[in-house]
Symmetry: C2
Subunit: 225 residues, 2 copies
Amino acid sequence: MKQREQSLLVMKSTLSRLPLYYGYLGRLMQDGVPFVSSSVIADSLNLNPVLVRKDLAGVSSVPGRPRQGFEVAQLYHDLEEFLGYNSKDEAVLVGVGNLGRLLLTTKSFERLGLNIVTAFDKDENLHGLKINDKMIFPVEKMTNLIPRLNVKIGIIAVPEDQAQTVCDQLVASGILAIWNFAFTPLDVPKGILVKNENLAMSLANLSMQLRNKLLYENNNLESHQ
Amino acid sequence: MKQREQSLLVMKSTLSRLPLYYGYLGRLMQDGVPFVSSSVIADSLNLNPVLVRKDLAGVSSVPGRPRQGFEVAQLYHDLEEFLGYNSKDEAVLVGVGNLGRLLLTTKSFERLGLNIVTAFDKDENLHGLKINDKMIFPVEKMTNLIPRLNVKIGIIAVPEDQAQTVCDQLVASGILAIWNFAFTPLDVPKGILVKNENLAMSLANLSMQLRNKLLYENNNLESHQ
DNA sequence: TAGATTGTTAATCGATTAACAATC
DNA sequence: TAGATTGTTAATCGATTAACAATC
């Protein structure tokens, strides 16, 4: 019913903004800016300054200074630490199709602390191949191999109809967190984390908003340009 | 048409759940289930039944019937209509790298109402090529071609450092909604819709949650300084 | 000091959940 | 009718914003 074990320092919504701050701070670093205030950050990212201050309060190891704001390098470092971008998360990938290949080869993910150690696919033409130095194994090896690798994050990039099966195998192999790119929700035992990367949702969202907007504007044609 | 009124009844958060209902209803259809109640939907998707009823109230053209629930086929159709999955949204893609190729070739997007009509890239080796029947043009042609195609959605799948430039060109070409896959927020004029597909955020989210969980389970260490 | 910017407490806003009457 | 399930109104919860005192 009620979860008492809330993260004390940082709200869930905060977490989704931290990578934004991280990116922005990174750009300031490059430009050699030494200090930045919450209101400057807020302006640049279209947020409320109080919100920024609250978010940062839970992350920064050093409080911001009145009249100066936050030290860019320090804050950048703290964000990096907090987000785990410096300590690599090891993960296994299941499904080496277009999307899987993308995840295997995109450098940005490595920078963000994601290290895919191994991939699995059921296509035997791929078995034994390496993509970006990562070996591809048959899916049958999953339950045998994953526990030995001691990896805790699994990425599902297989078609919808295979997602649940793969998910079950990952869980059986000791995986604790699943990044799911299949367009279907997964059934998992309690305690297993699932993050659904639902592009359908995003797309629906954008397309809906656009239609609403166009409709609205059509209804107000008398307004001038 | 009462579409506009309908839309206004639906909360922003509702919108993010509709594709979930749509997917679930689709599976019920396949199984030949004629009726479904809000509580069954809620159970399957881990939601509150009242929330489901509220969401559906804004979408369904026919109210649910006491003792029976909702007619699956009808509701499925209404969701499809509402989400615009039957009426294709035309879009242009900029950036034919790994991700761009994925978007061009993945069938699911077509099913979800996204129709990419043309792609742009700066690599001249790609110019004139077709991927999944979509022609690739030089980016220089954007401002000339897009207005003539009368397309209103643009997809940005270029590297971070080119995202803003591309964005500006899209806006100049009359694009009203942007689906941004670059890991950087975009500066756009008021009135232009932007949906950021920030995988970094999702990943940070999942990795954070996992670390919290492991920490909590291990001992509740105080790692703040 | 004076002024900018911080962090905290209180008020507001929006979304979810609870309670319940209506209905087939 | 009796019971399941609906849709609505009220209460609760969580996140954001406003107000403001503290501080360098």
